[in-house]
């Protein structure tokens, strides 16, 4: 799907009138940003489910969603700054609300791992991480509205243009790219969950094989939730 989207980006969608070829980064940057933000909020929702049901699988889902979203967020910051360099002439533009609020959100979520790592007790760790995920998840939209009110609108308002002024060829490519990115996100989540499951299963089996004592040796250092 994503490959299809890229094919469309390069061969189907016409070049933008005033930005030319560089405008094509838009099809990666914007879906990535939207998916990352939705991922953060999904992490918050899963964390709320975890606090309600106390099942480890919800904590795991929240952890994985936030993990993948942070990786996407790095991609968003990099592509956004490339795009800014190309179209506004600077790597970083402070007057630009989306970029700045994205950086703030990224900085906030980067604290998720130090927080998890520095709590020893597993049960407490997942509870505190969930509280953090809920707070941060609600902070995401709040922060965006606040920053957006603070500055003038330099950023192209993508969501407004999809309904309004975007020509159909752009719109189609954009929708395909967005779907592709969402599917990529879901697949990555699924892979990470599967790999975590396999690791824990393997660890449990090995522990049973070798007796219960050497858990520490096998465990390594990880702050990921355990099932």
């Amino acid at each position: 799907m994503l490959t299809g989207a890229f094919a469309l980006v390069f061969f189907y969608a016409p070049d933008d009138a005033d930005q030319g070829f560089i405008q094509k980064i838009f099809y990666i940057h914007v879906p990535m940003a939207i998916v990352a933000l939705c991922g953060f909020m999904a992490g918050g929702v899963c964390a709320a489910m975890h606090l309600r049901t106390r099942e480890a699988k919800w904590d795991m889902r929240s952890y994985v969603a936030i993990h993948i979203s942070v990786i996407l967020a790095v991609g968003v910051l990099v592509t956004g700054s490339i795009w800014a360099r190309a179209s506004w002439g600077h790597w970083w533009v402070w007057g630009e609300p989306m970029l700045v609020s994205f950086l703030i959100v990224f900085l906030l979520y980067a604290t998720y791992w130090p927080l998890r790592f520095s709590i020893e007790d597993k049960e407490k760790q997942s509870r505190y991480a969930s509280v953090f995920a809920i707070v941060a998840g609600t902070f995401v939209p709040l922060n965006f509205t606040a920053i957006r009110m603070a500055q003038q609108y330099v950023h192209p308002q993508t969501l407004a243009t999809t309904t309004g002024g975007m020509p159909p060829k752009f719109a189609l490519t954009f929708v395909v790219a967005l779907t592709g990115m969402t599917l990529l996100f879901l697949t990555l989540c699924k892979y990470e969950m599967a790999s975590k499951h396999a690791t824990f299963r393997l660890r449990a089996l090995r522990r049973r094989l070798e007796g219960d004592d050497d858990e520490l040796m096998l465990g390594g250092r990880s702050a990921a939730p355990q099932l």
Binding site: L107, P114, L115, S118, Y128, V131, V135, F139, I147, M149
Partner: protein
């Protein structure tokens, strides 16, 4: 609920009065920061947006000092266990801690604000004092609510004094933004400008929303 909060508050203030741990440190810190700003910027007087920036950054960092200490006595001396054993609403702890932090910040500002007027601020402090107090109250409320939540989150971690600023700074960016924007016209040379109403509204809404979030999740931080 009200009686519990009152009891907890009395405990907090007695503790602070006897140990004198947080408030004097915060006051000293903010004055030292003014001195650092004076040399860092190499200016004798500041006005307008720079003045408002210095004021808020200083108060924010002083508040973070206080945040680090907020739950320490509970954590180290078993206050949490005692509180959980008592048959009272857990939200009382949130309310009491937030009020404590709010009043600590107010006390700090009683000293830090005149010091700012004396040391750095160009235009006289009195020109817009009532409006500035309104902004200060809203900022203090925001810091108190967000800060109590963050301090509660960080208290169980090993790297407490590291986690608190890392969490609190991004979460308080909207508060700082609103505070800086509303205070800039108040501190201009040649008379105070009007207070921008929309920024005051944003500050108030942010405080309110975070108070709701804190109310919703704080219980989970306290069960053991």
């Amino acid at each position: 609920m009200r009686a519990t909060v009152a009891a907890l508050l009395a405990k907090e203030f007695t503790l602070e009065w006897r140990t004198r741990e947080s408030v004097p440190a915060m006051v000293l810190f903010s004055i030292a920061t003014y001195v650092v700003f004076h040399f860092g910027l190499d200016r004798d007087r500041v006005t307008g947006d720079i003045a408002s920036g210095i004021l808020w950054v200083t108060l924010l960092f002083a508040a973070i000092l206080g945040l680090n200490r907020l739950f320490v006595s509970e954590h180290e001396q078993g206050g949490f266990d005692g509180f959980l054993l008592a048959p009272v609403d857990r939200t009382a702890m949130l309310v009491a801690k937030a009020i404590t932090l709010f009043s600590f910040l107010c006390i700090v500002e009683l000293v830090a604000l005149p010091a700012f007027g004396l040391l750095l601020l160009g235009p006289p402090l009195t020109q817009a004092l009532p409006q500035l107090v309104l902004v200060l109250v809203l900022v203090n409320a925001g810091i108190a609510v967000v800060g109590t939540l963050v301090a509660g989150l960080a208290i169980q971690t090993r790297a407490r004094d590291l986690i608190v600023p890392l969490l609190a700074l991004p979460l308080l960016v909207p508060v700082m933004l609103g505070a800086a924007r509303s205070a800039t016209p108040l501190l201009r040379d040649g008379g105070a400008g009007a207070l921008p109403g929309n920024w005051i509204a944003i500050l108030a809404i942010y405080d309110l929303l975070f108070a709701l979030i804190a109310y919703a999740v704080f219980d989970f931080l306290l069960e053991d």
